[in-house]
Amino acid sequence: MFLIESFKTASSLIVHLDAELMGIILLSLKVSGSALIIATLLGLPLAAFLGFKRFPLKGICITALHTFMGLPPVVVGLFVYLLLSRSGPLGFLALLYTPSAMIIAQSILALPIVASLSYSAIVGIDPIITQASKTLGATPYQVSVTIIREARFGIMSGVIAAFGRVMAEVGAILIVGGNIAGFTRVMTTTIALETDKGNFDLALALGIILLTISMVINTFLHVVQKKGVTGTNR
């Protein structure tokens, strides 16, 4: 019975655009969106470097990158906490328990996903594309740009997958953000807190929104992947 009541209250919060709820959603999107931009700006060049360059220990680097895709968020949170704590090497920046710390933690989580899936997309491009570009007079740089453009759907899938991961993540941001109301409280940390308190209305409302965002992301991912498969190369 209480579940139905909670669901009703949650729906009301969503329909009436509750200020607290909106603040939490916007901060979540801001933190995860910023982390995603940073991860993409760093991850895509890293993927291109790994995809196009040959160097010693490249195989180990790629294996490490794939492994980091499964980084436990709490371990990342702990690592960033130690970095940013007052006695840590970056303590002087005073970023702990701020949205910036949360962005750093989520960037670390998103980076291997963006880089690893982009790398796979780049090396998955048919080598005939490289040959075709060269025969048409492309410089090595132009060949690389062409391959990245051909891999765009795979790269977008990586970016979207990373966004899904950081939006749903709770361990790292709880440790480095501290879940401070109105400042570092985001959807996942609020759900955890309110559930602990037995206050299911807000937790359920945020759960519904989180699920909706996840559904939108996955629908978009599906459309992107479908669009990428238009035919076979002859």
């Binding site: 048919d126 075709a132 025969t135 048409l136 007079g137 238009t230 002859r234």
Partner: protein, 217 residues
Amino acid sequence: MILDLSATNISKGYNGNQVLKGCDFLFDNIGIYVLTGANGCGKSTFLRLCALIESPDSGEINYRAEGTVLPKDLALKRRITLVLPKVGVFNTTVFRNVSYGLGIRGIKGRKAAVKVNDALEFVGLADKKDQNGLTLSSGETQRLGIARALVIEPDMLFLDEPTASVDQKNTAIIEDIILRMKREGRATVIITTHDKEQAARLADSLLLMHDGKISRG
């Protein structure tokens, strides 16, 4: 400016298997050269070497203009082009596929559009310009490859087995395109084919590759 291509004592092998064994030839006319020979005899290898996509193990490939040997730099590489048997279509529209070669040369906008439309018209793909290139049939894909090469107005065009995987109707269309290119003096065209009848239909100069060497057919 007309380009001459000379291949001198070219040898090339892969994994210990010697494919070309001292090939010599001079391509010095605008017209159609057709290189025939059995499958695996080294025709495609020879074309890739001539198109400067690969380097020979020994011997020399030289391009000359008015008697002067040209350096094998980007400027020269952009005067020649090779259409591969597997064309390598970019995952975008037919129009953008064809405009690729112009884009990388810095030719864009209206000037590029005119050239692309002209090339698409020439190969009979004007009505498919907004279609994704990957959705074309095998024959249309080969014509796309030719349009993509033609649009950059090469002095020397290499076509590697352009009709190997296409039906009779498209074979006839592609042969007609090649003959029109000759009539309009668009480029020196060097074609490989294992089809002797096709070779006879197209060739101004018929060449035979046998035992890693080229001779006049």
